[in-house]
Symmetry: C2
Subunit: 153 residues, 2 copies
DNA sequence: TATGAAATAATATAGTT
DNA sequence: AACTATATTATTTCATA
C-alpha cells in the first residue's frame, strides 16, 4: 500500500512530536481525529512506524563523547564475522554498526562517558574481539545536525 | 538533579516503547502511576527527555540507501564553515553531520532512494558546496545493529 | 519530599451515518 | 470521513509515610 499525502503529513507531524494528541495531529493535517487514529494504527500494522522512542540528551545521561570507529577484520570467514557481530550486539556502548564499502569493513558508532572510557571501549573491548585487525577512531567534536528524522518527499 | 534508579528504569522502559501507558510503565518499575507520571514530566522539564519520535522503516519510505560521507574543506575560514553548515542544514537527505577529528573535517550521514540518487546528492549537492575540497563516500551494505537507544548503566 | 488511591480531566477508539 | 458515544488513559487532589 503506497502512502498518500495524509499519511506523509501525519508521519511528518509525529516526527516533530510522537506524543501529540491525535486531535491536534488531525487539526494539523486538516482531518478529524478518527481517520488520523485509524491511519496511525494502519501505519503501525504495516510496519512503516515500527515503534516510538524518547529523544534523550546523552550528556545529561553522562555520555559526553561520541565516536565513529572504522574496523577491519583480518579474515572474512563466517566464524570471524559471526563472532565480531555478536560482540558488537553485546556491547551496550555500541549504538550502531554497519558493514560498509571502502577499505574498512565496519563503521561502528560508539558513545562513551569520557576520553578514558572511549579509549577503554576501543582498546579493551573492540580491538580485542578475535579477528579484528585494525581500528581507526573518528571522534565527534561537534554535532552540526542530528534531527533524527527522515525526509518524506 | 542526578537520576535515581526509578528514573533510569522509567527511561529504559520508554526506550522500548515511548507510548506505553503510564500504568503499565508503573507496573514494570514497581511504582504506581502517579509518581511515574510526575517523574516523566520532570525528566521532560529538565531536558533529559527532549521529545518523542516514531521509529520509521526507511525502506518503506522509499529510502533504500544509507551512506556516510567524509568531507574536507579547502579553507577553514568562518565564512566557509558557516556556508557549509548552512548547506548541510538545508539538505533534507543529510540526516546527521558532525565535525570530527582525523584527516577529514566532517562526517555526514546521508539517506537516499537509490544509487543514482545518492550519487546526485554527493556530486551535485555536497561536492558543489563552496569550500568543499574532498569527499569520500562510505556506503552502508548492511546494518548489524541500530537500536536507537542509549546505555543507561 | 515522595508515594498510593481515588476522582476528575483528557484523550483515543468504536459504532453509526 | 465525520459525528457521537464509549472506553481508555493521564493527571490532579488528597491523605499518608
Amino acid at each position: 500500500m503506497p502512502l498518500d499525502e495524509f499519511d506523509r503529513a501525519i508521519i511528518a507531524v509525529l516526527q516533530e512530536d510522537a506524543r501529540m494528541p491525535v486531535a491536534q495531529v488531525a487539526e494539523r493535517v486538516s482531518l478529524s481525529a478518527t481517520p488520523v487514529s485509524r491511519r496511525i494504527k494502519r501505519l503501525e500494522e504495516e510496519g512503516i512506524i515500527t515503534g516510538y522512542q524518547p529523544v534523550l540528551d546523552p550528556r545529561r545521561l553522562g555520555l559526553e563523547l561520541d565516536a565513529y570507529v572504522l574496523i577491519n577484520l583480518d579474515a572474512h570467514s563466517d566464524a570471524n564475522i559471526e563472532r565480531f557481530e555478536q560482540a558488537i550486539l553485546d556491547s551496550p556502548y555500541v549504538i550502531a554498526c554497519h558493514a560498509v564499502t571502502g577499505d574498512m569493513d565496519y563503521l561502528v558508532h560508539v558513545v562513551a562517558r569520557d576520553v578514558e572510557h572511549l579509549s577503554q571501549i576501543t582498546l579493551k573491548s573492540l580491538l580485542r574481539i578475535p579477528g579484528v585487525r585494525d581500528v581507526k577512531s573518528i571522534i565527534v567534536l561537534e554535532t552540526v545536525k542530528a534531527p533524527r528524522t527522515l525526509p518524506l518527499d
